[in-house]
């Protein structure tokens, strides 16, 4: 009996010791990744973590790296393409080995940036040249540099919309619904596709925030008020989504939707509309080519709301590249980020907005210029707080769950009433605001 007890004790001690070995990696705070003065003198092999498995596999990334090597002959760039990027990098960031350059995962709190990343310079200095610097600024220092910018919007099949007799972009949610109804009655297309199963396409409705009222302080308002108050941006967006589903304008069975299939289906005109963003345009055009449809049929339109007769679109950064604070090759890493942002053709290749302030808009946004759509940048100084409130309240504006519930209510699979549902979200949100404020 005693003997057995010692064995159990030993096992337990061993387990605890092993447990002690794991846990969080070391903390080091504050480091700068300075831009090298002489490109020929920078040396080192750097690893870049990226979620773009597609362009790593087809060699596009290697082409950028080869181009980079022409300027920085002694730096070798390797890529580590990760499919489940957010989850995997989050775990790797518990150690010191998370590449030399990485895209900042959404989970990292803004205030923790100095613990994980080396600073790229001051906000005052970088803000002159680049867009979106305040998204990664902590205490006046910038920790990330986005590869490209984008904006949310509806991808739609121009031919189907034309066949339904709609030539102008709807300017109010009601007009938008009328347009979808016309598509339903006059064409065979599914007017709107929710991509309910994949989930994250529902999440992109959150990025409507700012465009309804053309408000650059929209994020701050979320952090201080109720995002689902009457007339607030998210309430208008969620209301539209609800009405689309409630009035039978979405696909018949949302629970078994298929994201990959939805691309060629929209290109071929089986689906008329999806709320996504500029980043999706190139994917849908490629899908159109593969499916033998016309890539020019893919159109892009803003959220149906106008302030003083003009549409408003919110531009925001894609993933931000950052230098690992533990990297031994910070200069080489910094050189890669600078080169990739300033010199590479990445943004153009992806039909996306360049992060450089003086660069022209991409060709696909020509209709936006013609229609006089106003492009705004929402101030992100309260972005970190919004994330904290979101986590504390478990509402999940950056996850699909609450909109899946909303769609379920709209199609009658779940009991409830839209007003009560949105009010409930608002209540949880404002309660979390209070508990964090205290």
């Amino acid at each position: 009996m005693n003997h057995r007890r010692t064995i159990v004790g030993t096992l337990l001690a061993a387990a605890l010791m092993a447990a002690g070995c794991t846990g969080s990696g070391g903390t080091s705070k504050g480091a700068d990744a300075k831009a090298p003065d002489d490109p020929s003198k920078v040396t080192g092999t750097i690893t870049v973590l990226t979620p773009r498995t597609d362009i790593v596999q087809d060699g596009t990334m290697q082409k950028y790296a080869d181009e980079f090597k022409k300027t920085y002959p002694k730096v070798t760039v390797k890529f580590d393409a990760i499919t489940d990027y957010e989850a995997e990098v989050k775990i790797r960031m518990n150690t010191e080995n998370y590449g030399d350059v990485l895209m900042i995962p959404a989970v990292i709190k803004k205030n923790d940036y100095p613990k994980f990343f080396a600073s790229l310079g001051t906000a005052a200095e970088r803000g002159k040249k680049y867009r979106f610097t305040d998204f990664t600024t902590v205490d006046g220092k910038v920790y990330g540099q986005t590869t490209n910018g984008g904006m949310p919007g509806f991808l739609y099949n121009k031919r189907v919309w034309r066949e339904a007799g709609i030539t102008d972009w709807p300017t109010t949610p009601d007009e938008f619904l009328t347009a979808l109804k016309a598509i339903k009655s006059r064409t065979d297309a599914i007017p709107y596709y929710t991509n309910f199963k994949a989930g994250w396409p529902l999440t992109s409705w959150t990025y409507v925030n700012g465009s309804v009222h053309c408000d650059t302080q929209a994020t701050a308002k979320m952090a201080e008020g109720n995002p689902w108050a009457e007339g607030a941006d998210l309430r208008v967006a969620d209301r539209l989504l609800y009405d689309i589903v409630d009035q039978g304008l979405a696909e018949k069975d949302p629970t078994t939707t298929n994201w990959e299939e939805s691309k060629p289906r929209l290109a071929k005109g089986e689906i008329a509309t999806q709320w996504l963003g500029t980043w999706a345009i190139i994917q849908f055009q490629q899908a159109a080519e593969k499916a033998g449809a016309d890539p020019d049929d893919i159109g892009f339109m803003p959220f149906p709301a106008q302030v003083d007769g003009t549409f408003c679109a919110v531009v925001a950064p894609d993933y931000n590249q950052a230098v690992n604070v533990h990297s031994p090759h910070k200069e080489a890493a910094r050189a890669w980020i600078d080169w990739f942002t300033d010199k590479s053709t990445y943004a153009d290749d992806n039909l996306a907005m360049s992060p450089l302030k003086d660069a022209p808009l991409p060709e696909v946004l020509k209709p936006y210029e013609d229609a006089g759509v106003k492009l705004i940048e929402v101030d992100d100084s309260k972005g970190g707080l919004v994330k904290e409130i979101d986590n504390a309240s478990e509402v999940g504006i950056y996850g699909p769950e609450y909109r899946q519930d909303l769609v379920d209510i709209a199609r009658g699979a779940k009991d409830g009433d839209l007003g009560d549902f949105l009010d409930g979200l608002g209540e949880r949100w404002t309660e979390a605001e209070k508990s964090l404020g205290s």
Binding site: A14, S24, F196, T255, N391, E401, K414
Partner: protein
């Protein structure tokens, strides 16, 4: 047999060679003692590294407010547990487990039926054994994806029903009840094979003469099942029931892949995963995992109390 004989035996054994050094025997004895541990070293190391250490870690995290990535974490005591037990909605998801529990009754029944039938001499029995066990060999993620197509609007199920002239036009994953029944059905399809093999093994361990004797005594198949098979598989049956109950409480793969917990199919484990990886409340999620562990232990304990596992007498 008894300690006394040993005590007597020991001095007689050690006394004669006392003149020689006591080295070699002791060495041998040390080795004899060490040998089992050496054999055990590898599995124990693996067990500790991959099971007990993470569990110890999880319990430790459950007492903190860690978000899963930040280098800073604060000790919060039992705050997370208090949080869990004061939020009734976190336990509502256990209602979903009811569907899987009901399904596992069906599953055990089916497995028992097939195991019994196939333990007799049936034509193509090995083929049928293979067919029944096959689903269990498929990866759970693959099953989830395959059945997503199966339940799709106009998918496999709809077209098969269409062949029989029945067109239900029903969204199988569309409503909470329908979705949960469909998912539980997939779970039955997947795990029946495992139960079946366990039962078949137990049934085949019954010596053949017993069946012969029973047949001579005029017992029909039902009698054979009732009086021969049933008693001999009782331990396996109770094991299966325990596995089913704990399995129903911790369903994860199939609903997570197929619906992601949408439309009222969220289980306790999915909820825990969401707390940890979506809302970055690793501390709270660890506490939830500990609570689930305790619930399963409690259920098993109650079950063992109600149905004690009496020793099977050798037949």
């Amino acid at each position: 047999m008894t300690p006394t004989t040993e005590k007597v035996a020991r001095p007689t054994k050690t006394a004669p060679p006392a003149a020689e050094t006591s080295g070699p025997p002791r060495k041998v004895r040390v080795w004899q003692r060490l040998t089992p541990w050496l054999f055990l070293a590898a599995p124990l190391a693996l067990l500790i590294t991959f099971t007990y250490a993470p569990v110890a870690n999880m319990v430790a995290y459950s007492l903190t407010d860690w978000d899963g990535v930040s280098p800073e974490l604060h000790y919060t005591g039992v705050g997370n547990y208090a949080d869990i037990f004061t939020r009734a909605e976190l336990f509502q998801v256990f209602l979903v487990s009811g569907y899987y529990l009901a399904a596992s009754v069906v599953q055990i029944g089916l497995a028992l039926y097939f195991a019994t039938v196939l333990s007799f001499n049936v034509r193509f029995r090995n083929f049928f054994k293979g067919v029944l066990f096959f689903p269990y060999l498929i990866n759970g993620v693959a099953i989830g994806l395959v059945f997503l197509y199966f339940f799709q609007d106009g998918g496999t199920l709809d077209s098969v029903l269409g062949l029989f002239g029945y067109e239900p036009d029903h969204a199988w994953l569309g409503t909470p009840a329908s979705a949960n029944i469909s998912l539980a059905g997939v779970s039955v399809w997947r795990y029946t094979g495992l139960n079946f093999v366990l039962f078949l093994g137990a049934i085949q361990s019954v010596p053949g003469e017993l069946y012969e004797a029973a047949e001579l005594d005029g017992a029909n198949r039902w009698h054979q099942f009732r009086h021969l098979i049933a008693p001999s598989i009782k331990p396996v049956l109770s094991l299966t029931v325990i596995l089913s109950v704990s399995g129903s409480l911790s369903v994860f793969e199939i609903p997570y892949i197929m619906t992601g917990g949408a439309t009222g199919t969220e289980t306790f484990v999915i909820q825990t995963v969401k707390l940890a990886f979506q809302f970055n409340k690793t501390g709270l999620a660890s506490a939830a995992a500990v609570v689930l562990l305790l619930i399963i232990l409690a259920v098993t304990w109650v079950q063992r109390r109600l149905v004690p596992d009496d020793k099977v007498e050798p037949v």
